[in-house]
Symmetry: C3
Subunit: 297 residues, 3 copies
Amino acid sequence: MLGYPRSLASVRDLQSQNIHKIIEQAFCFKKSGFTHVREAVVLLAFFEPSTRTRTSFEMAAHRLGMKPVAFAADHSTSLKKGESLHETLANLLAMKPDLLVCRHGGDVRVAEILRTCEVAWVNAGDGQGEHPTQALLDAMTIIERLDQIEGQRIVYVGDVLHSRVARSGVLLFEMLGAEVAVAAPVEWVPKDGAWAKCKRFASLAEASEWATVCIGLRIQKERHADNKSVPVQDYRLDRRNLARLSSNALIMHPGPFVAGEDLDEEILSDPRCAIHDQVTNGVYVRAAIMAEMVGKA
Amino acid sequence: MLGYPRSLASVRDLQSQNIHKIIEQAFCFKKSGFTHVREAVVLLAFFEPSTRTRTSFEMAAHRLGMKPVAFAADHSTSLKKGESLHETLANLLAMKPDLLVCRHGGDVRVAEILRTCEVAWVNAGDGQGEHPTQALLDAMTIIERLDQIEGQRIVYVGDVLHSRVARSGVLLFEMLGAEVAVAAPVEWVPKDGAWAKCKRFASLAEASEWATVCIGLRIQKERHADNKSVPVQDYRLDRRNLARLSSNALIMHPGPFVAGEDLDEEILSDPRCAIHDQVTNGVYVRAAIMAEMVGKA
Amino acid sequence: MLGYPRSLASVRDLQSQNIHKIIEQAFCFKKSGFTHVREAVVLLAFFEPSTRTRTSFEMAAHRLGMKPVAFAADHSTSLKKGESLHETLANLLAMKPDLLVCRHGGDVRVAEILRTCEVAWVNAGDGQGEHPTQALLDAMTIIERLDQIEGQRIVYVGDVLHSRVARSGVLLFEMLGAEVAVAAPVEWVPKDGAWAKCKRFASLAEASEWATVCIGLRIQKERHADNKSVPVQDYRLDRRNLARLSSNALIMHPGPFVAGEDLDEEILSDPRCAIHDQVTNGVYVRAAIMAEMVGKA
């Protein structure tokens, strides 16, 4: 594949023809079943805890006949004994896995090691940076349900500021010809370049008249000092806020959601809701990425 | 296999010919070695912690060439972030494992998802409900040592009230023609229908004259308000209480036991003790169940 | 292999020709790639927490096509429910893994079970006892960089007293014809027989004039009552203390290290530093050991 990166740190590492090739491969796995690639060892190094994403990568690895080895920083005794995070990563890389899947909280020295390492690696979330595989599975889900990304009007709702999911999404969707907007209070609208061209809506109700895709986001309380002033009910995926959403539109959320807070559970049975499809497609997309990066090495 | 269930939630899902077929297959694995079935991904979702049972299923899966993926709720960050237990399960199911092995504490909405889910699944313990694979491995152990279940006099000893092991056992053993009794203080005798026909003994010493199989149980202190009034020493597997047990009888315990409390460690070297055989047979029985449920799909 | 032990509890279980055969096999894996042995299930029972060693064994197992199953005592619910450590181990052994890799804190009854068990097993660290696979990977690294062990002058630096790494090392290196010394304050010099013949240096600076290999050690604070009187800066791997070390010498550390305490991070970029080579070689050595112990069974 021309220009296919050895590492997937950011959506910016991909070109639009690569994105389409990954998603095509993912659809192919979904329709015709998985095929084995070589017996690679995939190290899942999660320095920030995760369950959904780690399990998704682990299942995808097994489906390809690869061998996942999970490393969770929260159980690391080396870290408890005083080893630095970047040295733990350097050690794991010294064990020579064929592929590294890494999540971390944004540690500068961890990022530096990843930038220069010889092992192929995939970013599974880096603090408030990016989460490119989530953007890819979201793209696959939109294509599956609405045929194409081009021309869609996609709105990220709620706590956009702290969301690496949304940052990877806006980069990817604009590259593929969609228009992206934000429905969030001013405090939660990111100021960086990725969002410069984006329309802003003051509430989900207002955005839902415009959007063909609404993507809710969990309120990342752990990153907030104080939310008292934010009218969170205006950004919740619920029947009232989505009353004017087109019947052909999509309702999405990267999960985990907090029922009653960023999503009302009745939304899950709305025919426009694709939240569980996203989870299903995550395994196919991650398998497609890993097959491409490791299969031919 | 006629009437073999797609899911094993309860011993009631099995017919006696299915039970015998599973146990025969388990003996066959024990005698002639394991055989590979297709490369299924088995998701081990343990919403209540476990080590013995999870490790047993994990080893059984590997023996069949299956790929176990473990999910432990105690490490789940989605749950910590406010996701509900049943939504976590819905997500794991959306990843499309070939088989789900699930332990949970009895959560009503988790049970509801399991009841209607499309993925084949095995109950690895559901609160104070059932634990059917334990009953099956106990049956295998009795057959191995005493040739048959039919006609045995089996007594559950001690904290029967809180024991899902005992509930699955009484259903299974009566289906196979054994007589089941309880040796427990009145407070620990279950009142539900499964136990209606059962004889009761006031102490293990009394029961051990009658029984051909004594099955001890851990006192589930975490489920008791207060045990002060219960004479626990009357229900301990020890030399004194088992003095009148026949030399052909069996001593069993599902584990984990608390030495000195529900079992005296010297019992482990009694030739009638089959406690470690139960653990060994657990791997064979679980493999037999998984091979049957997934192998032919 | 003549005299090859079924279990690797101590370096003393090995003869020098076995040691060389293991290391040769490890070099062969490194040069020509891994080869599959039979589909063994390897149980990794870590009753003392570990990340580096467990991950290294897990990757080595996968490279051979074996199936690792990890059991970590810190998550064990059986232990929380009151099961004794040795009974947990007896249970895991009853599940009949093909190989056990075990780390424990030195529990006498655990050691007793291991001494008599029928399952082949490898010691992955036993309290302040031994850590034979670490000594073997250190030997491989020295041979790789300095051609041979024979004739080397190897110094263990710092907290030698509490180090199972150093105890396995001194036994192995003397068996292979090296001279071993200790650079440590009197309080940290072990008094047991293994160290009887060893030279002692009062500081690393002094030892580095003599040594061809300097092996630093983490200060095991968790095993110290009080370190206030020890001049730790005299035993740190740093530029000042290593100023007189030969340009052909090696700098090693089993990890994890605490930067600024037992090692200055700038040492990692010294061309004499082999710390990450040790980690890399660990996977090859452990694979060689497991292939030998299990592959031909």
